[in-house]
């Protein structure tokens, strides 16, 4: 019987006491895994909330849209601006109630619904031992010879891949498709998601991989490896921000409000850099871990609002597809 209970325990989530209210947050898988910031955030929040915070993982946006009013979520975390328009139109979310002025983002933020908690920029990462002369600008990359090989993510299946086509659009506008045609011979392959790309890059299969400006921080802090660097381009880098929001129909509105307030605290923000390997959204640079302060970051930041991103999405993906299908 003991073994049966043990086996059954493997199939069911942690037991909770009936009295403690359950606070459910939908989050992306990487966020809530033991290698993401989730567990530390859960522990820190549960110290004060006298609740049981539970992360439910998966594809947050699709699930919210499928569930609609029936959703069990009290809050969501890990949405991306490039796809929030559809989320906003569902009317499922309530105002976050936090002061946007406390944010330390490189762009203005005035959204009342979606609250940023971390950010980064798209960037190409290279290995200094393999690439001695990395391109100094986006133009240099576009016009470089074909001996430089890139691996990128598909904008149709990956959020970072989508950010890349928006990045190219933001830099080159009308010229975007021509630029993709020039990039095409350098693109070794396109993968479904970020993990496959980064895996190929780590195995030395490609010279550069589409990732984030903050990626080198992982190698520096966790592996003491200084050979991974982001190529910083003066044309600017596309800004990627992750958002949290409160579900309007939550049965624990106070907990949801408390959690959004918690996001803005130093305690939460301090977990972000080395938990999510990205930049905290409400923490001055002087308080970042040293490795993050030392990271080369772009001076110019490019960004499309959710409205613009939604309007450009089909067009930019189609330009990308046409250019790379030739």
């Amino acid at each position: 019987m003991k073994y049966f209970t043990f086996a059954a325990g493997l199939f069911t989530a942690s037991m909770t006491l009936a009295q403690t209210p359950i606070f459910t947050i939908y989050a992306p898988d990487y966020f809530a895994s033991e290698w993401g910031p989730g567990p530390a955030i859960e522990a820190a929040f549960e110290e004060s909330c006298s609740c049981d915070l539970q992360f439910k993982t998966g594809d947050v946006m699709s699930r919210i849209i499928l569930e609609g009013e029936r959703t069990e979520a009290d809050a969501v975390i890990g949405l991306n601006t490039d796809i929030t328009k559809k989320a906003r139109e569902t009317g499922l979310f309530a105002a976050h109630g936090q002061d946007n002025a406390q944010l330390t983002l490189p762009i203005e933020w005035s959204d009342e619904i979606f609250l940023p908690f971390n950010y980064g920029h798209t960037a190409f990462i290279y290995n200094t031992e393999k690439v001695a002369n990395p391109p100094a600008s986006f133009d240099a990359l576009v016009n470089s010879g074909t001996d430089l090989s890139l691996v990128i993510q598909d904008p149709r299946s990956s959020i970072s891949g989508l950010a890349l086509v928006l990045w190219v659009k933001a830099v080159y506008g009308e010229q975007a498709e021509a630029v993709w045609q020039k990039l095409a011979p350098k693109i070794l392959t396109v993968t479904k998601g970020w993990s496959e790309s980064y895996g190929l890059f780590s195995d030395g299969e490609a010279d550069m991989v589409l990732s984030y400006t903050t990626s080198p921080a992982y190698h520096i802090v966790a592996e003491n490896d200084l050979t991974k660097k982001a190529a910083i381009f003066p044309e600017g880098h596309y800004f990627m921000v992750e958002l949290a929001a409160k579900i309007a129909s939550t049965d624990v509105p106070d907990l949801a409000d408390a959690f959004l307030a918690f996001i803005m605290t130093d305690q939460f923000q301090n977990i972000i850099p080395e938990g999510n390997w990205s930049l905290p959204a409400a923490l001055p640079k002087s308080q970042w871990p040293q490795a993050f302060q030392d990271l080369p970051l772009p001076e110019k930041v490019l960004f499309y609002s959710e409205e613009e991103a939604a309007n450009l999405r089909k067009e930019t993906i189609e330009e990308w597809r046409r250019a790379l299908s030739k």
Binding site: G36, R63, D203, W320, L324
Partner: protein, 502 residues
């Protein structure tokens, strides 16, 4: 044969498990939809790569299976057992293994360069086909090998006494057997490759190699266009169904008389043939074994440093695999007929994404989908392996039927006795193989757990993705090795139990 009522109800159960989710997704649609130019080109590429993959896998499996059937050498059993390994690898692990051999800096290109040749690029249609043959050649080989084992010894002896040699023997004895197996093997490989997505994209080298599954993924994730997802799912279903019908129509499975159930010996063959067989087996071993060895070696050192959560996930995956195997074998025994084979094929025709989302939609008004996610994974894994299990069991079963039904009837053998004394001793070899395949496939499948799970219910493949997703490539390699060892261990144990004294 199982009683008709059991066959019909199992069939109905599977049909509803496959079709209801599609309907549930369709119901979410908020408007009509149609296929755009990008979808049509995806459809063309999907059919092209799946058809070529099926053709190449089955055709190259014939000489390999023939060589394995007649060659006698030390370690033959181990080689045959290895023939299940690539098929059960998680996709991402297989890609990294193939790249270690065929990639820009892989063994092949390093060798070619040092010999002064140009390099081979794996990225393109050739890469997609290479990967699909890597996955499916072993499956096809094993299915054909089982087919060879069903050729009655009497027929081979008759051939020998008539002095049938070379091509004549092939045409009169082996070809009829191949025609009962090849169309069915090709159809199932075609259907597997239809829903290829991660491999097709990563090795296809770009959007030229877009498959329907990617279009479905896009419709779900970014467009939230459920009508389109369902429509594309329906197109995929139609393609798979056509493949299944084609296979059934083409398999003119006439049998040249019955035999007395004695083990096979293909008779004498020349020294040249022996050498050729050796070369065929050697090349196949290198092609299939090297990527696996590299994956294994790459992560072996990190296995001991894997955290407890990974081991818990491994245990969870083991339990799911055992459950899925039991369910799959139970279902497959009641589907050992022509119609059953078609219905079993149905269970891999629906895109996993549509299936997962549909099940989620069906379940969510009644239960919390998170609570049942592991049970759903178990059922989906069982269904996923059903087409293979049925295909592996059916040739043997129909042979048993043809050879023994009269004898059993004349002895007045009871149904239980028939299974215990006639069927089981003959079926246990393919049964062991099918069970091993199911368990291993289930181990390696990421499946629906990625759609709705939570941190406390992660399976081993999901942990592998989580590790990669958080830059921990070294631990991910360890996780991949562990997954490979567990999957192959399962496969080996079941296969061994089936073959022992059989």
């Amino acid at each position: 044969m199982a009683p008709r009522i059991v066959q019909i109800s199992t069939g109905a159960l599977i049909c509803s498990f496959v079709l209801l989710p599609l309907w549930a997704v369709w119901r979410q649609a908020d408007g009509p939809t149609s296929l755009g130019p990008a979808d049509w080109s995806a459809l063309r590429f999907t059919i092209l790569q799946a058809a070529l993959s099926a053709l190449l896998s089955t055709l190259s499996a014939v000489p390999l299976a023939r060589a394995l059937a007649r060659a006698q050498f030390w370690g033959r059993a181990a080689v045959i057992r290895l023939m299940g390994a690539p098929f059960i690898l998680p996709v991402i692990v297989a890609i990294l293994g193939l790249i270690a051999v065929f990639g820009q800096n892989g063994w092949l290109n390093t060798g070619l360069r040092s010999l002064g040749f140009g390099s081979f690029s794996i990225y393109g249609l050739q890469g997609v086909l290479l990967a699909h043959v890597f996955f499916n050649l072993p499956l096809a080989t094993r299915m054909i090998l089982l087919g060879w084992a069903t050729i009655p010894q009497e027929r081979l002896r008759l051939g020998q006494s008539l002095d049938l040699r070379g091509f004549a023997r092939f045409r009169l004895i082996e070809f009829p057997m191949l025609m009962t197996i090849l169309p069915s093997a090709a159809a199932v490989i075609f259907v597997i490759c239809l829903s290829s997505f991660t491999v097709a994209l990563a090795l296809g080298g770009g959007p030229k190699s877009t498959t329907l599954e990617l279009a479905i993924y896009q419709a779900f994730r970014f467009d939230f266009d459920f009508a389109k997802a369902a429509l594309l799912g329906l197109v995929q279903l139609g393609l798979s169904a056509s493949a299944a019908v084609f296979a059934l129509g083409f398999a003119w499975g006439h049998q040249l008389g019955i035999g007395l159930d004695r083990p096979i010996a293909l008779g004498r063959h020349s020294t040249l043939q022996k050498y050729l067989d050796g070369v065929v087996i050697g090349v196949a071993l290198l092609f299939l074994g090297l990527p696996l060895l590299l994956v294994l070696g790459n992560g072996l050192g990190s296995i001991t440093s894997l955290p407890a959560a990974v081991w818990m996930a491994a245990l969870r995956s083991v339990l799911i695999a055992l459950g899925a195997t039991a369910l799959c074998m139970l279902l497959s025994l009641s589907l050992l007929s022509r119609g059953g084979e078609a219905i079993a094929t149905l269970s891999i025709t629906v895109s996993p994404l549509v299936l997962g989302t549909g099940l989620f939609l069906i379940a969510s008004p009644y239960v919390n989908p998170f609570e049942i996610s592991l049970w759903v994974t178990l059922c989906v894994n069982a269904l996923m392996s059903l087409p293979f299990a049925v295909r592996i069991l059916r040739p043997e079963m129909s042979q048993v039927d043809a050879n023994f039904c009269w004898l059993s009837a004349s002895l007045g053998l009871s149904r239980l006795g028939w299974w215990r004394w006639v069927v089981w001793p003959r079926l246990r070899r393919p049964f062991g193989f099918a069970a091993g395949l199911t368990a291993a496939l289930s181990m390696g499948d990421l499946g629906v757990i990625a759609l709705f799970g939570d941190a406390e219910r992660a399976t081993l493949p999901l942990k592998l993705y989580q590790l990669m997703g958080s830059y921990r490539m070294e631990q991910a390699a360890g996780c991949a090795s562990l997954l490979l060892i567990l999957s192959f261990g399962f496969f080996w144990v079941f296969d061994f139990l089936g073959r022992r004294n059989a």
